[in-house]
């Protein structure tokens, strides 16, 4: 993990319509981190995620990504420059279903770079190899399994070699083995491609596998209730919400003899 701040969120208030979901949220992400945003359902994880990738207008505060700032009212140019530096993996994989897997990777490269077609095809192959989907370039997204879709989405998110990769629930709904593969891929991406990763998740094993630092959001607090290393959060004893998140046990549970 580097010392260079790559994302800074300052006093951020975001929501839908006139209602705010998060208020006064501030945190920083450093280069090379796998930074996790966690919390229970409805706490505003996805809201923050959408604000970070510029899909949700900011009501107050600002987000600075690689020196580019977005604030209330939005700045299209600045947002456009930010988006050139980020890749996104959505929970659904978000592949364009009328294109093959290979075309999904090639498409953004054709549109946003002047790379020759031959090189684009090489990049596509390379990215597919990276996510272990070598033979799937010609398959349509509908032909892929859930785990393969997620891996293809990851490759598509990495197609333009972003400096930052944002992932929304990358392992949610996957079986433990497939989820483990995605966890490994994310760590590999960070280690080998030097990409900073922001992950929104509530899957504890994924957090344990990949996260270097976390913030925990809460619905009632409308903001951050805990932050730091994962171990710090797991050992947090003063806040029952944090404890419950990591130690999900039914009190006095009986076991069948």
């Amino acid at each position: 993990m580097g010392d260079r701040e790559i994302i800074r969120v300052e006093d951020l208030t975001v929501g839908y319509g006139g209602t705010s979901i998060l208020e006064g949220v501030s945190f920083s992400v450093y280069e090379g981190e796998i930074f996790a945003i966690l919390g229970s359902s409805g706490c505003g994880k996805s809201t923050l995620f959408h604000a970070l990738i510029g899909l949700l207008p900011i009501q107050k505060g600002r987000i600075i990504i690689s020196g580019e700032e977005i604030g209330p009212g939005g700045d299209e140019e600045s947002l456009s420059r930010i988006r050139r530096q980020i890749g996104v993996l959505f929970q659904s994989g978000a592949l364009l279903d009328w294109l093959s897997v290979g075309e999904n990777l090639a498409f953004p490269l054709r549109e946003s770079t002047d790379l020759p077609e031959e090189i684009i095809q090489q990049v596509v192959q390379l990215k597919l190899e990276l996510v272990r989907l070598e033979g799937c370039a010609d398959k349509k997204p509908a032909e892929l399994s859930g785990g393969m879709t997620r891996r293809a989405g990851l490759a598509a998110g990495m197609a333009r070699d972003p400096r930052i990769l944002f992932c929304d629930e990358p392992t949610f709904g996957l079986d433990p083995n497939t989820a483990m593969e995605i966890d490994e891929l994310l760590v590999e991406m960070r280690d080998h491609l030097n990409v900073t990763i922001g992950v929104v998740t509530h899957v504890v094993p994924t957090l344990e596998n990949i996260a270097t630092r976390c913030i925990m959001l809460d619905k009632q607090a409308k903001g951050i209730i805990a932050s730091g290393d994962l171990e710090d959060l797991k050992n947090e004893t003063s806040d029952s919400r944090v404890q419950t998140f990591f130690q999900r046990r039914i009190p006095n549970r009986r076991t069948r003899e």
Binding site: L55, F90, Q91, E111
Partner: protein, 374 residues
């Protein structure tokens, strides 16, 4: 009256009784038990009841409901009811002395009329503002394409042109040929009485080519392509494909909306021309078969009746109808919420609104063309 065998009763001084339940306290037995318990209340008129459930093997929700109902009834009659050896699951619902959970207030604070008006205005203004923004963005994308035609996504445009236009040719031709046939049949009774059979050709030209073909074609396109645009874009929205395109810096109006709107705006006038021709052809065949009007005579009559303005007003209307259908379908698609149900709702709405707007626009065109003497 015999009590259900799972209840045994013990009487104590001062009107106290103990009820011993055993076996299963379940849905099958609850109805009979309820009658028994009410009968007991009436017969014994107790001052205090203790229900012992030690010998109960199993209790289901109907059994718990029975106990809770019995407690409520005792409370109403001022009878002190207690439970002993209550199964764990029943304790949650029957725990004595436990304060009721704080109810979540669903009361909405009363609003002044001005606040209500403001909320109503804001709720209504949201979609209106979205529409204005959408039209502005599409117009901006359109102006950009006019200035730099290379910016038009020609592959997508041609693909949509094929779907909207080429793939609809057969349907449009068949339906409009049938319309020509209907007009001839309707007209026979009018013109035959005067021995003026040949004028069915004029009727076909005036009614089919002049009026019915453009509107019928637009309605078919609204149902076929407008709904498809809404469903297609709506599904993309649900699958987060639009989000990913936005993140990839694609201009959504230029990428998704403009090629569709242009395709339908180009295809509709062409299909209307085909519809005109099909209607006239349908009329010609029917006239030949039913009225034995020679085809050359029919064609000559059509030529004299068909004015150039019928053609160009049809083209103008067709382009306008196409733009209306395309914009409505795409706008509804982009307003899809995150549910599969919403896709269907938006597709239906796209069709209905398109048809209403097409007929409204046709009315305006009729007034305008009349005012300009076209």
């Amino acid at each position: 009256m015999e009590l259900e065998s799972i209840i045994q009763i013990s009487r104590f001084p001062e009107g106290k009784i103990a009820l011993f339940f055993r076996g299963e306290l379940n849905r099958e037995r609850s109805a009979r038990l309820w009658t028994d318990l009410l009968y007991l209340l009436q017969r014994e008129a107790p001052s205090e009841i203790v229900c012992d459930l030690q010998a109960v093997e199993r209790v289901d929700t109907a059994g718990i409901a029975l106990l809770r109902g019995f407690k409520q009834r005792c409370d109403e009659q001022g009878i002190d009811l207690g439970f002993v050896h209550l199964p764990e699951i029943a304790q949650r619902f029957l725990q004595q002395g436990q304060p009721a959970q704080e109810a979540v207030s669903t009361d909405v604070p009363a609003l002044s009329w001005i606040s209500r008006l403001g909320r109503w205005g804001r709720a209504g203004a949201g979609p209106a503002m979205d529409l204005v923004r959408f039209l502005g963005e599409v117009a901006a994308a359109g102006i950009k394409v006019v200035r730099h035609p290379k910016d038009l996504r020609s592959a997508e445009f041609l693909q949509h042109l094929q779907e909207v236009g080429v793939n609809a040719v057969l349907l449009i031709c068949v339906l409009n040929a049938m319309t020509g046939l209907i007009v001839v049949f309707q007209g026979i009774s009018l013109v035959s009485d005067f021995g003026a059979d040949i004028y069915v050709a004029d009727m076909v030209v005036r009614s089919v080519a002049g009026q019915m073909a453009p509107v019928l074609t637009a309605i078919i396109i609204a149902g076929r392509s407008g709904a498809a645009f809404a469903a297609n874009i709506g599904t993309m929205k649900i699958r987060q494909e639009i989000d990913i395109l936005s993140v990839l810096n694609f201009n959504i109006p230029a990428f998704l909306v403009l090629p569709r709107v242009l395709a339908v705006a180009v295809a509709t006038p062409m299909l209307i021309m085909l519809a005109d021709a099909s209607g006239i052809l349908g009329g010609m065949i029917t006239s030949k078969v039913v009225l034995d009007i020679p085809m050359p005579s029919y064609i000559a009559e059509v030529q004299s009746a068909l004015e150039p303005k019928t053609i160009y007003t049809g083209l103008i209307r067709g382009a306008a109808f196409g733009i209306i259908i395309g914009l409505t379908g795409c706008f509804q698609g982009l307003r899809t919420e995150n549910s599969a149900d919403s896709v269907g709702v938006r597709a239906t709405r796209a069709t209905v609104i398109s048809i209403i707007l097409v007929i409204l626009a046709d009315t305006i065109f009729a007034v305008l063309f009349n005012a300009f003497g076209w």
